[in-house]
């Protein structure tokens, strides 16, 4: 007969569907994050060139590009912005995605096919990738501290409970 702990544990175990959903939400989050970053750059560019309006087609292209590159990042490029360390594969992933963003921005005319603006955009995307990498890394370091504090508390309480039982 199974004890109640293992039954509860089975009920709470994450299903494959939930795992898939978690990954999809992560991609969605990434797409929003990069979309807003690109949108900021786009708005600044438009303002500098004297325009106070944004092209809706450009915005649609941006959001779709962010989704597609989000999928590429997660499923093909080892989710490099959430990697433990920045190695060759991670930097290569960043460069590939930056190139894709720049190519689509150039073909879509987000920055009027201006080469200088496209190059500055490339540098901006790379900067965003490095920032996101360090943000995720810092988040995990904080999480480490919380996890280890909770572990010590668990172990102390468990040892105390065992002594009480004896």
């Amino acid at each position: 007969m199974k004890n109640s702990n293992s039954v509860n544990s089975n009920k709470r175990k994450v299903s494959i569907w939930e795992l898939y959903l978690t990954k999809e939400i992560a991609i969605e989050f990434k797409a929003c994050l990069y979309f807003f970053s690109i949108l900021f750059f786009y708005c600044v560019y438009r303002i500098i060139y004297g325009s106070w309006s944004a092209d809706i087609i450009h915005l649609i292209e941006m959001i779709f590009t962010c989704y597609i590159i989000g999928y590429i990042q997660v499923y093909l490029l080892k989710n490099f912005d959430e990697a433990e360390n920045l190695g060759f594969i991670e930097v290569a992933g960043m460069l590939i995605c930056t190139f894709l963003y720049c190519l689509i921005s150039y073909l879509g005319g987000w920055y009027g096919r201006n080469m200088v603006a496209t190059l500055i955009f490339a540098a901006y995307i790379l900067l965003i990738y490095f920032c996101v990498f360090y943000i995720y890394k810092s988040k995990r370091q904080i999480d480490d501290k919380i996890l280890n504090e909770e572990l010590k508390l668990f172990q102390t309480e468990h040892i105390r409970n065992n002594k009480d039982k004896k």
Partner: protein, 146 residues
């Protein structure tokens, strides 16, 4: 080994063990009678051995065989990971992946990894991965929300 079981109507129940050599099997019977629970019997390179459950660092299932790892021994146990968890009824043994159970009390440090995985450093220095599937449950266990 001959086993004599007698039913008595009066007097105190007693168990008499007569042996020529104190074999692991007899040792085990004595330990059960002494109510020395929490010990597990299994096979190591040196033969049948008993280990305390609290000394286990982690358990691993390899080709349907269950192995318990302590600081000094690797002991093959009877049963499966599921049956072990069910029988132990001890929160400190946590199923951390399809093929492993860790003793949370023997974890030295935890490290949060990408994709919600957790790396557990055991007292023996081994690194054991708590997979994404079990990481949320592990966090709940540590917080006492289970």
């Amino acid at each position: 080994m001959r086993i004599d079981i007698q039913h008595i109507d009066e007097g105190e129940s007693s168990v008499v063990i007569r042996y020529k050599e104190l074999t692991p099997q007899i040792k085990r019977v004595i330990e059960v009678l002494n109510n020395d629970t929490g010990k597990l019997w299994g096979k190591a390179d040196s033969g049948n051995v008993s280990i305390k459950a609290e000394d286990i660092l982690y358990l691993e299932s390899v080709d349907d065989k269950l192995f318990a790892y302590t600081m000094s021994d690797v002991v093959r146990l009877e049963g499966t990971l599921n049956s072990f968890i069910s029988e132990m009824m001890d929160e400190s043994f946590f199923r951390c992946s399809k093929s492993m159970i860790i003793n949370v009390n023997k974890v030295l440090a935890l490290k949060s990894l990408a994709s919600n995985r957790i790396d557990a450093t055991m007292e023996g220095g081994e690194h054991i991965m708590i997979s994404r599937r079990y990481a949320s449950e592990f966090r709940r266990l540590l917080r006492g929300d289970r």
